[in-house]
Symmetry: C2
Subunit: 483 residues, 2 copies
Amino acid sequence: MTDTITTLTAPEAAAAAGAAAPLVAATSREERARWLEAVADALDAAKADLVPVAVEESHLPEARLTGEVGRTTGQLRLFAAVLRDAAYLEVIIDHAVPDATPPQPELRRMLVPTGPVAVYSASNFPFAFSVAGGDTASALAAGCPVVVKAHSGHLELSRRTAAVVAEALAGAGAPHGTFGLVEGTQAGRVLIQDPAITSGAFTGSLSGGRALFDLASGRPTPIPFYAELGSINPVVVTADAVAADGASLASGLVGSFTLGAGQFCTKPGVVFVPAEAGFEDLVAEAMGEAKAAPLLNQRIVDGFGHGIDQLAAHPAVELVAGSRSDADAEAPAPLVLATSATEVAADPEALLAECFGPVTLLIRYGSKGDLESGLAAVQGSLTGTIHAAEGEDVSALTAVLAPRVGRLLFGGWPTGVAVTWSQHHGGPWPATTSVHTSVGATAIRRFLRPLTYQDAPESVLPDELKESNPLGVPRRVDGSLEV
Amino acid sequence: MTDTITTLTAPEAAAAAGAAAPLVAATSREERARWLEAVADALDAAKADLVPVAVEESHLPEARLTGEVGRTTGQLRLFAAVLRDAAYLEVIIDHAVPDATPPQPELRRMLVPTGPVAVYSASNFPFAFSVAGGDTASALAAGCPVVVKAHSGHLELSRRTAAVVAEALAGAGAPHGTFGLVEGTQAGRVLIQDPAITSGAFTGSLSGGRALFDLASGRPTPIPFYAELGSINPVVVTADAVAADGASLASGLVGSFTLGAGQFCTKPGVVFVPAEAGFEDLVAEAMGEAKAAPLLNQRIVDGFGHGIDQLAAHPAVELVAGSRSDADAEAPAPLVLATSATEVAADPEALLAECFGPVTLLIRYGSKGDLESGLAAVQGSLTGTIHAAEGEDVSALTAVLAPRVGRLLFGGWPTGVAVTWSQHHGGPWPATTSVHTSVGATAIRRFLRPLTYQDAPESVLPDELKESNPLGVPRRVDGSLEV
């Protein structure tokens, strides 16, 4: 394993990616599947070298980071499977209809890569949402060169991971410029404005993401900026659910909001709880098990302390468990706060602000109307969760939550995000800036655009569009699906 | 037929659409298919009333406008077929894997409507890209209420068409607020900033579209703005093609760039022609057949005159056919100008500006390198066209044009845009602002977002996601496609 790679300036990296773009676009799906597998194999092999660096820089536990490498290489291998499956190309063929009025030409459509992608790493997943994470995997799968902007919270890990990725790609035959790394906030700002870059992918804070989104949208040639920003992930617990299984729900909630020290974008940040059912006491009891854990870095520590200051100082907020004075520590003890649905409806901006770290806000509701007016104040979120008793009618809650979220859970907790064909990790603003996911097979759609060939000679058609379908791709022909 | 509908203020229309959104989203695909068919039937029935109003306001010929009504109702019926086909829902189901590490929940994904859409009509298709055009049809099909901003160029037609649409929708059972109409530039600006609006769809000028795109992107809650803006639709004619069939190519070109008085976004605006092959003379000859036709309105007349002034005054531009002094007339005679690929490469901004109206610019090239450096200066376009001789190798030209366009034609002319499953009407900026099309079946994708249900009880699942697949929708289950 090489130790590090030379980082480039943003214009250098973008120029190299721009030069590589037509070469990468011209590779076959099978070639790119092998690149992704080579990167996955190399990361698995380098795990013992990389994980200690990640522990040092992120303060996350070794077991979690080791598992995260597995998640990361699993993502790379999923996109190899997506490439071989080929349905993502959305091949549609309409044969000519010469006797139509006007005569209809032959049209053959498929998705093609958009070009170089700027990927902005997240702090909280040093592997899975970073240098070799899902954005990089899906962009490379699509056939787009990638320039990663390293996260300052794990710079050394980023350099070492980038070296592994670059070496594996080169070894697998990827063109020079397929992958690059830049460092620093200013480089990130320059990168998204470079004419060679065709889209951005970002996971991080609302303020940082919005600033880059504005740069991307404000370019002379605007480009899409696929950002995952902020999410409070509302949970609703019904009185019947508390009656049926309150203690295990309370301990499940504590486990979920303190997982990874509360540093997940899917952390349950607000929990609507029945005012009278005694659920608060059960949560306070379950908090006996909760342990303090170090946060990722000083910026997160400062942000958490500031967020708690704002929230706990609100006249409508009470402390249920934990100590507010502990919130400025490097490893703050988890906190549970409480308010009411009426207060939330009256002051959503203050009470429903995302607070990254080990805190959750219980929101007491009385009537159903009370609950619904509180839920109506919730902005777009990645997830929404309903805890009801077996057989309880949840259709009204489903109808209120569904328009606000990208993933709707019935039982369970939102902090696990399975990497599958069907996953959707996105949601209405401010959860994400687009109608596409950043996790799961369909994340590839962000980096593709349609191209339709009209009356093309067979000789210039990509194999995927040829009449005989030599590669056996799923397609729609004259209106009918063929698998 | 009712005469007109009451137009609303933008906030009124947006509020009505917002109130209707959950009701529209809850309708079945079959219900919405019937709405679209009811609108199509009503427009067909009202054709004799509407076309004369369109002729009066747009100055387009009756036969063309009558045909355009057919195109419009055909689009509405295509989206009814798209709804019944159901593949657009992109249903993906992954069953639970309880013994995975970590255990994998059951996930069921489908696309759901985003909410109210603001549709901005175009001047040049008073039916097909206007009140009941493709944007409206695809948004309603998706399950989104629509507020149309009427085009000032055909206000009376817009009101009358809107009355037909509103009456047909109401008759077919669509909720109040499913469809609304607003008028005026300021209403359009207010509309796109209304919190109830979730996306915009636009066909028109680069300056107007950019202004609305900036408003949409700059909102506190940014929304996608799907705009089709400007396109010069490069055509390349090889020397062998001229040798084989020069005269009919020349007459085809004249027919295409003067069709609809050159007022199509797919008009061939620039044509790369071999310097030595005598093609210019053939074009000049074919221009004998070209007739002057009135432009849509005074704004287009002024824009055309200004564009010709700019272009024809350029020291590197010569007049091939037509008269420059005629360019300010209400029905300007068609014009052919010429320059060289070297000049284009040196001053692309001036020479490759879109000029809406009956003009095309021949760009003479000598060597292949000369041609390629000229083509390299071409920005994103809706279409690119290659005219080569039978059997001639066009792979190099394909490789240069493909990254710049959304539809690549081999022979023929770009001004026909078939409404099919496979059509792509879009392209890199400034052709469009997104990776989605505005014409053809996949235009519906703009108004949909994924929603994934995790471990949901069968009772809350939409029929399309139920295990038994009662509606027989195409889907992917545990990684395998099922049609």
